[in-house]
């Protein structure tokens, strides 16, 4: 059995796939890759299923030894990957000889990088998914972030591992951006027009108190609705909650499943993966759009993924 040995784990490296939606009734959040688009592409490059389990690295990557020859691809943030000291290109299937070390450094641009391997990483699935939810200690590799010395099993590679290069047009269209499009949240109507105006006209800074559960933003406080005594309800991925002090929090993939803060807006489907690439100290903005526009953009995106000729050159 082929395996990967963790020589250094980096800041926070976990096994992730496309998550486990459907378990809201028992309080389980979907988890999964914070940037599912990067994970999907990294897998498709290798001929894997799009949701095969991969490693998600955060801000500072790790260093990994391969016991046997393997084929990998790297997507997401540029953490200066090197193979035995030589730079490795991203978004490309790359052969790794037995005994070689693949190492990553600090990010040069976004928050998260993905290391996919032909055959995927093999962990015991929890509720149908390999994704790690660190808070509850479930899924992934022993329910936790990777540590030095961990040995991860690698599945059997697909028969013909295609060596496909991702099209530059695609990467450009899916690139992380600092302007996130939003639709009105369920309590938008309770906020004043000034608050909604402020939401789209001021800049928000991503704070260091941000993780897979959510991004805490810093900005002049948003004016709260006159009575913000609402009954706890389910909260969506990408919801922008406003705390009693007027600060905004964007909910991420490891999100709490219910909450009692009013939600002024919600990031639209095709921008959700971009939340996962925002790192602390970055300034972001919000742009309002309609449900109809958001849906049309989503359908276009899914069509792109289903016709692979647009994905590769």
């Amino acid at each position: 059995m082929n395996s990967l040995i963790v020589q250094s784990p980096g800041l926070l490296t976990t096994v992730q796939d496309l998550g486990r939606p459907g378990y809201g009734p028992i309080g389980v959040s979907p988890a999964g890759a914070a940037d599912p688009v990067a994970l999907r592409i990294a897998n498709l490059v290798l001929g894997n299923e799009p949701g095969a389990a991969a490693l998600e690295m955060t801000l500072l990557g790790g260093s990994f030894l391969f016991s046997q020859a393997a084929t990998v691809s790297i997507g997401g943030a540029d953490m200066s990957p090197t193979l035995n000291g030589q730079p490795v290109e991203m978004w490309l299937a790359r052969s790794i000889p037995a005994g070689a070390t693949l190492a990553f450094g600090p990010t040069r641009n976004y928050a998260r990088a993905y290391l996919a391997v032909a055959g995927g990483f093999r962990v015991k699935p929890f509720l149908g998914s390999a994704s790690t939810h660190v808070l509850s200690g479930t899924g992934g590799f022993e329910g936790r972030a990777l540590r030095k010395g961990d040995v991860l099993r690698i599945g059997a590679a697909p028969r013909n591992t295609p060596k496909r290069q991702v099209s530059q047009t695609l990467l450009t269209s899916l690139r992380p951006r600092k302007v996130l499009r939003v639709t009105d949240g369920p309590q938008a109507g309770q906020f004043s027009p000034e608050a909604l105006d402020t939401l789209t006209h001021q800049t928000f800074r991503v704070t260091e108190e941000s993780d897979r559960l959510g991004l805490r933003l810093l900005a002049p406080p948003l004016p709260l609705p006159p009575s913000s005594n609402m009954i706890t309800e389910g909260v969506s991925l990408g919801a922008i909650q406003v705390t009693p002090s007027g600060q905004a929090i964007i909910l991420g993939v490891d999100q709490q499943t219910t909450g009692g803060y009013p939600k002024i807006a919600n990031v639209i489907g095709i921008d959700l993966h971009r939340i996962g690439q925002l790192r602390p100290h970055v300034d972001i903005r919000f742009e309002r759009t309609s449900l109809a526009v958001a849906r049309a953009l989503w359908i276009e995106r899914e069509r792109l993924f289903h016709s692979t000729e647009h994905l590769f050159v």
């Binding site: 009734p25 309080g27 509850s136 369920p186 919600n266």
Partner: protein, 224 residues
């Protein structure tokens, strides 16, 4: 029945305006019917006190289509029979470090600590829904005699097993998380574990009763 778009891929269905048994029963019935006959576009559901959050596959349906479908589901769910609730018994130690806020709760209500324990253990609570984190059940209704608002500043880390109260709600924290509820005790029982099914100790619709145990009994139950 009221519909609100929560995002471009999700919708909130309100089934009442007040926390109570009648609304809870409607939410649970709609949830059960959707679990029994899940439409192909259904991605996830999150029940709460008065609402159900539905996330859907936006490449198959839009909000209007989801609304139409859910109106029919809701109508049909009314004829579903109510389930006989299970009773879950949870041992709690209300002493020492396990109960950092119990003195303050007693003081605010002019009660003795014994009174607070007696009142908290004297009734069965309904598990309205599970939310926040895996296995966290929102239990109610807490007696007005000990109902206490949340802390002004939430704790950064509440130990797993802590029993908290907030307003007329009570709950057990399954995992160490931040939390603003007032902590009056701790249970040695795991609330969510993946080595047996169901994973959660408490399910939506259960009746939950607490009983007071000594620190010695806590240690005994905590050791595997």
């Amino acid at each position: 029945m009221r519909f609100r778009a929560a995002s471009d891929q999700s919708m909130l269905i309100d089934l009442g305006d007040e926390i109570g048994l009648a609304t809870h029963a409607r939410v649970l019935k709609l949830l059960r019917l959707l679990q029994k006959e899940p439409p192909a576009w259904l991605r996830n559901m999150q029940p709460a006190y008065c609402s159900l959050l539905i996330s859907f596959d936006a490449s198959r349906v839009d909000h209007a289509a989801v609304e139409t479908a859910l109106r029919r589901f809701e109508q049909r769910s009314e004829s579903l029979r109510s389930l006989q609730p299970r009773t879950i018994r949870i041992p709690v130690c209300y002493e020492g470090d396990f109960a950092p806020d119990i003195h303050e709760v007693a003081r605010l209500h002019n009660l003795s600590i014994k009174d607070v324990i007696r009142i908290h253990t004297s009734r069965a609570y309904l598990a309205y829904f599970l939310g926040f984190v895996p296995g966290f059940a929102y239990l109610g209704d807490l007696s007005e005699d000990i109902a206490t608002p949340r802390l002004d500043t939430p704790r950064k880390r509440v130990p797993a097993g802590s029993v908290g109260i907030a307003g007329k709600q009570t709950a057990v924290y399954p995992f160490a998380t931040p939390g603003g509820w007032r902590l009056i005790g701790r249970t040695p029982l795991p609330l969510f574990r993946t080595d047996r099914e169901p994973f959660g100790l408490i399910s939506m619709g259960d009746q939950v009763r607490f009983r007071s145990i000594s620190p010695g009994k806590f240690e005994e139950l905590a050791s595997p």
